[in-house]
């Protein structure tokens, strides 16, 4: 019997069901928060899946691009890395896409790009109405999407970002965002309404405030979140900034977390927190169970990751268009991974040291995605500085975030076994 062909977004919807099960399995009795999050993501992806059929433009965007502008223009922004990340862990499709892509591009291109390129070459995903990426954080991002836009014929816009951070640079990025708005207006035949943008920014700011409060609460010992809960919020924060539903979710989540911290409750249901780990770069998205295995086997909670280290403040002044654009430009600069990987190495190490210190980490985990050449080039500098400043070890793992064929789950766990037996013995 021939297998029914499923679009990538249908696959994501199926993945979310499995994701929910994985999260609930480790969440014990207290799974309300996870349920809320899954409802949120299900609603969002359903909206994305129906967008084009309903005449709403679908925008593919990189994780750092401010989704608020797209929501304000009644478009649906889909963060491509989120889609790839959700397709990757469940079933063989992601690997098929990677193999398909490698017929046309080198294997050392980022697998996040390869999943999407393979899906496009397979015809499992329709072209977006527009695609927007910034010029940072990496060469794969810079190279692949512009090329794909020409190969598959859809409009593309690059937000150019200066390498060195400065006030002038923020103004330049704000100018780029304004050009992006003009591009979107031209390609989608709709105008950006300032009042709608302001309202979207209000929601974004509210969500932001709650997120910062939750982040603060998560610094508690024991950590009130399980590892997977922390990682699972990433897609919602990126895709739904500017939506009231995200505010509702984070508000409820904040209240729940506050209560847990007040009672000194851990996010772990079946083990005790013994170690606090911070993923200072990538992590095995292909195997979410590694995180719960770490909890169960060693009482090691992944208290945060670079990707989830949203530290920027809400956009203070949203009284006019220019100020909003300046605020969003500042936000873009400080988005996790863009901040760490898009500029000189001080940006990486400063944010990493601050994160590890704030979360009281016992060890840093450098989940070195094989495609991230820029991070591999500073890995020694980073490891040495963390040891020097914080006195904690860094475990270097060579892996492909989306492809278990590079380093398998078993191989990763063997590395952890060695690490806990030798370096981290308590």
């Amino acid at each position: 019997m021939m297998e029914e062909k499923k679009s990538v977004l249908e696959q994501v919807a199926e993945s979310l069901v499995i994701y929910n099960a994985a999260l609930s399995a480790v969440g014990g009795e207290e799974t309300r928060g996870i349920g809320w999050l899954m409802n949120l993501l299900n609603t969002y992806f359903a909206e994305a899946g129906e967008a084009q059929a309903k005449g709403r433009p679908l925008a593919w965007i990189n994780f750092a691009v401010p989704s608020e502008i797209f929501w304000a223009m009644d478009m649906v922004p889909v963060v491509v890395e989120v889609v790839n990340g959700l397709v990757a862990p469940f079933g063989p499709k992601a690997l098929e896409y990677i193999d398909m892509a490698e017929k046309s591009i080198p294997n050392y291109i980022c697998s996040s790009c390869k999943v999407l390129m393979g899906a496009m070459l397979s015809g499992d995903i329709t072209a977006p109405d527009v695609l927007v990426v910034p010029s940072q954080p990496c060469d794969s991002n810079l190279a692949m999407y512009s090329v794909a836009s020409k190969r598959f014929d859809f409009p593309y816009f690059c937000i150019d970002m200066p390498y060195l951070r400065s006030e002038q640079g923020t103004e330049y990025i704000a100018g780029e965002l304004k050009k992006m708005v003009k591009f979107l207006e031209e390609k989608t035949n709709r105008k950006l309404d300032l009042d709608k943008l302001k309202q979207t920014m209000e929601y974004s700011n509210l969500a932001h405030e709650y997120y910062l409060k939750i982040s603060k609460l998560r610094e508690a010992v024991p950590c009130p979140y399980s590892s997977l809960e922390i990682l699972a919020e990433y897609p919602a924060i990126l895709c739904m900034a500017g939506r009231p539903e995200l505010v509702d979710y984070l508000k409820k989540r904040y209240e729940m977390t506050k209560a847990k911290v007040a009672k000194g409750e851990s996010g772990l249901s079946s083990s005790t927190e013994k170690y606090r780990l911070v993923w200072i770069y990538g992590a095995p998205a292909f195997d979410l169970f590694t995180f719960s295995w770490l909890e169960q086997e060693y009482g090691a909670v992944s208290v945060n990751s670079m990707m989830n280290n949203f530290t920027m403040q809400p956009v203070e002044d949203i009284s006019d268009y220019d100020k909003i654009m300046m605020g969003l430009a500042e936000k873009l600069k400080l988005m996790p991974m863009t901040r760490e990987c898009g500029g000189p190495w001080e940006q990486f190490i400063d944010a990493t040291i601050e994160l590890c210190r704030r979360t009281k980490a016992d060890a840093a985990l450098f989940g070195g995605h094989v495609a991230c050449k820029s991070n591999w080039a500073i890995m020694k500098l980073v490891k040495d500085k963390i040891r020097e400043e914080l006195g904690i070890p860094t475990l270097i793992l060579e892996l492909d975030v989306f492809d278990p064929r590079v380093t398998s789950s078993d191989a990763l766990r063997a590395k952890f076994d060695d690490f806990f037996a030798t370096v981290l013995r308590k």
């Binding site: 080198p106 050392y108 291109i109 020409k150 150019d160 200066p162 390498y163 330049y172 500073i378």
Partner: protein, 375 residues
């Protein structure tokens, strides 16, 4: 010794008698990566710009302590040369954010080595529009100010105009050299041409210009190469600075008649206007030259430049080479293979390391490609 032999000898090492002589006069030498650095600024400050290369680097043990096996061997070789002290004659470095590997060299330089002057020249990643050009003008101005402050010199408008004029002359002379290669019997091979260009990477340009004039005179008298199986163009990523790499192709009968390389045409194709705002002219020219794959809005134009070359130089096939782990050029394949197939232009896609280790494999691939072209 003919001028060609002289230039070939000078191309073998970034340090040459002219560099030593320059240093002996008490003048400064600054290394740079990559061709997007406007050398004219340094030259106008009476500083000799030397483009970084590590041509004989066979081992990257010291560099590998900092960079990983996932970083390109061109950059690791340059870093190795630094650790070995082979760039100790330099008074500073200018790096760019042209790619992930290059920009991280800037970080390692500052943390692990002790050079008196290190500057990051930030480039945009799209040619874009007037705002991008103006921003780039600002970066060039900051670069000029940094050079002036570090070396206590003044880059006056007159000096800059003169430097641009000298560099334009180089560009003009190299274009003339390429014109000769359009002939059915080109008087110079691809490997020889690459040597000529490499020599210019670490020679004072006024001296180099005189040598180029002599070379052109000699080549006009030289018997052309008429025995070859196919006319090839070589395109792709940086780090392609080994004449022997082209030599392998040419030994098999594939005469390299043109290129789209940063150690080739992309370095000198566009002149800089000498009238009006010189900083703006530099910004315009450097942004609008045939681009590296790091210019994200120039995918089609890069392909068109190659196609134009194919027509002008009567090219039978394009060798598209790139360094292993070069995402920027590797990604271009998705478009180029597709486009060139549509245009019926034979394309050979090759991955390479900086050192020419796989000559046997290269020979096999090129031989097969030539047979395919011959039908």
């Amino acid at each position: 010794m003919s001028t060609l032999e002289e230039l070939t000898a000078l191309s073998r090492n970034p340090v040459n008698p002219a560099v030593n002589e320059w240093k002996a006069e008490g003048k400064k030498v600054v290394g740079f990566l990559c061709t997007q650095v406007p050398e004219e600024i340094l030259y106008a400050a009476d500083i000799l710009p030397v483009r970084l290369r590590a041509p004989d680097c066979a081992d990257t043990t010291s560099a590998d302590v900092y960079m990983s096996h996932l970083n390109c061997t061109f950059m690791r070789s340059c870093l190795q040369y630094m650790f070995e002290g082979k760039f100790d004659f330099l008074d500073g470095f200018v790096c760019t954010n042209s790619c992930d590997h290059t920009r991280r060299l800037y970080d390692i330089l500052r943390e692990a080595l002790d050079y008196p002057y290190v500057h990051l020249f930030s480039i945009p990643h799209k040619v874009g529009d007037e705002e991008v050009t103006l921003w780039h003008r600002g970066e060039i101005t900051r670069f000029k100010e940094s050079v002036e402050a570090a070396f206590r010199v003044e880059v006056t408008e007159a000096k800059l105009r003169q430097a641009i004029g000298i560099y334009n002359e180089t560009r003009h002379l190299l274009r003339e050299l390429y014109e000769l290669r359009k002939s059915d019997s080109p008087p110079i091979s691809g490997a020889e041409t690459l040597s000529v260009i490499l020599a210019g990477n670490s020679l004072p340009k006024d001296m180099y210009n005189q040598m180029l004039r002599n070379l052109l005179d000699e080549l006009r008298q030289r018997k052309g190469i008429s025995k070859y199986r196919a006319r090839l163009m070589i395109a792709g990523s940086g780090g392609c600075d080994n004449p022997n790499y082209l030599g392998v192709m040419e030994e098999l009968g594939g005469l390299v008649v043109t290129d789209s390389l940063c150690f080739g045409s992309r370095y000198f194709w566009e002149p800089v206007d000498t009238e009006g705002d010189l900083m703006l002219n530099l910004a315009r020219s450097y942004l609008n030259r045939p681009s590296c794959a790091n210019m994200t809005d120039r995918v089609v134009e890069r392909g068109e430049f190659v196609k134009q070359m194919v027509g002008d130089f009567k090219v039978d096939g394009v060798v598209f080479q790139r360094m292993r782990y070069c995402d920027l050029w590797g990604g271009q394949l998705l478009y180029m293979e597709h486009e060139f197939k549509k245009s019926d232009i034979p394309l050979l896609s090759l991955e390479r390391e900086y050192t020419l280790g796989g000559a046997g494999q290269l020979r096999t691939r090129v031989q097969a490609f030539l047979e395919k072209i011959e039908g």
